[in-house]
């Protein structure tokens, strides 16, 4: 039988919703246990939140000062040690999971399955390649632990609150490197919904034209309670910060409603939104590739259409 260790992602003392999505993928393996591992300098609130996720058997905590910031070189040896006795180690396929999981896999001497979108069996998974233009079925060697990252857009967050799993402090005898040090994190502070978990997202592209013009996108997003995203072109042009980028190399999202405004729809952008419930495209170029995957398309000038939309919404 399988036993799965899920690595918790957290920031500023709060659990990230990507963890509950990784728990959903773990549950699909039908294991006998799903334990969540919390590594932090201060595990209290994070562990308590993780314990409430349905399906979690135990929360294991490692509270060390060195774990104050998620440095892969520091976390990976601890995770590799904690992985003893587990058949699977899952982490969300966020920048956190992508950074740390391959380091864990190499320490364990095993291959890693990246971006698991479905579980076909305890060692068989589906994952996208070529920017999502092909889906492969991969089999991992059943003789070793499986290290995998979970494509968060493919999995709903497991529900919370039905139970509270026991929390146990883990003491790991691991010496940690000091060759890598955290300096700072510059966060784009925002009161808007989080891009990766929002049910509605409004994205702007090169067609928005300038950083100042992007206000029209923010204003419209606020009107409908949506998160704001952007194409690579808009980020490269400096209209918005990098963390808003949606696509193959940015965030992969699956909101109920995705509105692409002034975005042509390069292959690399479409990868990031393919699983959205309803895709709306607003573009002045009727030939733009975005219309090929849009559920609802509207051809026209965004600067004329957005005020009209706001008025029609009322």
């Amino acid at each position: 039988m399988s036993k799965i260790l899920v690595i918790a992602e957290h920031l500023d003392g709060k659990l990230n919703s990507s963890t509950a999505r990784a728990v959903s993928a773990a549950a699909a393996v039908k294991p006998e246990a799903i334990d969540v591992l919390v590594l932090s300098d201060n595990v209290g609130t994070i562990a308590a939140e993780a314990a409430k996720i349905d399906g979690v058997s135990r929360v294991l905590t490692v509270a060390r000062a060195e774990n104050a910031h998620p440095l892969a070189a520091v976390l990976a040896p601890q995770i590799a040690k904690a992985a003893a006795g587990y058949s699977h180690v899952f982490a969300p396929s966020t920048t956190f999971g992508k950074d740390v999981a391959p380091r864990v896999a190499a320490l364990l001497g095993v291959a890693q399955v990246s971006d698991v979108m479905s579980v076909e069996g305890s060692h068989t998974f589906k994952r996208p390649i070529y920017a999502g233009n092909a889906i492969i079925t991969v089999e991992a060697d059943a003789a070793h632990a499986v290290v995998a990252t979970i494509r968060t857009a493919s999995w709903p967050a497991a529900a919370q609150g039905g139970q509270s799993a026991p929390i146990e402090a883990l003491s790991l005898d691991v010496s940690l490197p000091s060759h890598t040090r955290f300096v700072e994190l510059k966060q784009g502070k925002s009161d808007r919904p989080d891009l990766q978990s929002a049910s509605k997202v409004v994205s702007g592209g090169r067609g928005v034209g300038s950083k100042e013009n992007f206000d029209i996108i923010y204003k419209f997003a606020d009107k409908i309670g949506a998160a704001v995203g952007a194409s690579r072109a808009a980020v490269d042009a400096g209209y918005v910060p990098n963390e808003l980028q949606v696509g193959q190399t940015g965030k992969i999202i699956a909101p109920e409603l995705y509105m692409a405004i002034g975005i042509s729809g390069a292959i690399q952008h479409l990868t990031g939104i393919k699983d959205a419930g309803t895709i709306v495209a607003i573009n002045k170029d009727a030939e733009a590739p975005i219309f090929e995957i849009a559920d609802i398309g509207l051809v026209g000038d965004l600067f004329k259409l957005i005020p009209e939309l706001e008025q029609a919404i009322g």
Partner: protein, 248 residues
């Protein structure tokens, strides 16, 4: 300091790939191949470090079939001093690639290894991290800014929350994000010059790299198609359609 740069050849990023109808792979015959875009960024960054006098030598490393030589010549034309070609006809997965790099590191003793953050064919995003683990050295992934001074790299990383800066003692592994730099174009005279630059050829088998734990791909499929959408004529019609779906 010597810098090793990973230089993978992939299907060009503009190509819309097709899955073979029998599910055995994707069509690559006659398809345009190019440098992995993130690897061009890695090479550009290494060349800039050499131009600043921080590095003396930039070595591009490719793992692949005999005809990979032409691809490595492009890296030499862009400005690398020399190339190492590890020859194998088999597809190489990230753990194996990391083990190959580890062998080359033992021999070359670089001060820095720069790889792309992911290859746009397998989209794995693993090799750099795995190499850093095997080498027991720091990793700085998804780099959008790199400064090297006093034996350490100060790296700004593109993370989900924003921009994170870390310090890593050298030697280290850096993986590049898109915004690290704008790679230079190759000029015709440089293509001529590249012809006389050395390429070391190493047989994969001679490295003694363990490959038995690779993943097995059993099937390739095209992604599910979205149903054909509708066009609306104005803002009012769009709002009505979204309200009907309960989205507004």
């Amino acid at each position: 300091m010597k810098i090793l740069v990973g230089y993978k050849r992939v299907v060009d990023y503009n190509v819309r790939i097709q899955v073979k109808p029998d599910g055995t792979g994707v069509v690559t015959d006659g398809v345009k191949l190019s440098a992995n875009p993130f690897d061009d960024i890695a090479l550009e960054e290494a060349l800039r470090l050499r131009e600043k006098g921080i590095a003396e030598e930039v070595v591009v490393v490719g793992v692949g079939p005999a005809d990979l030589t032409a691809h490595l010549r492009n890296g030499l034309a862009m400005g690398a001093n020399r190339a190492i070609h590890v020859v194998t006809a088999d597809a190489v997965q990230p753990l194996t690639a990391a083990r190959v790099f580890q062998k080359l590191i033992d021999k070359e003793q670089p001060g820095l290894v720069i790889l792309g953050k992911q290859a746009i064919d397998d989209d794995a995003n693993q090799t750099g991290q795995m190499l850093a683990a095997l080498w027991d050295r720091p990793q700085a992934t998804f780099a959008s800014k790199l400064e090297i001074a006093n034996g350490k790299a100060t790296v700004t990383r593109e993370v989900d929350a924003g921009l994170e800066t870390i310090e890593a003692e050298l030697p280290a592994v850096i993986t590049t994000d898109l915004r690290l730099n704008e790679p230079r174009f190759i000029k015709l005279p440089d293509i001529m010059k590249a012809k006389s630059k050395p390429i070391d050829t190493i047989e994969f088998a001679s490295l003694g790299v363990d490959t038995h734990d690779q993943l097995t791909t059993t099937h390739y499929a095209a992604p599910g198609k979205r149903s054909k959408g509708v066009m609306v004529k104005d803002a009012a019609e769009l709002v009505a359609a979204l309200k009907q779906k309960g989205l507004l």
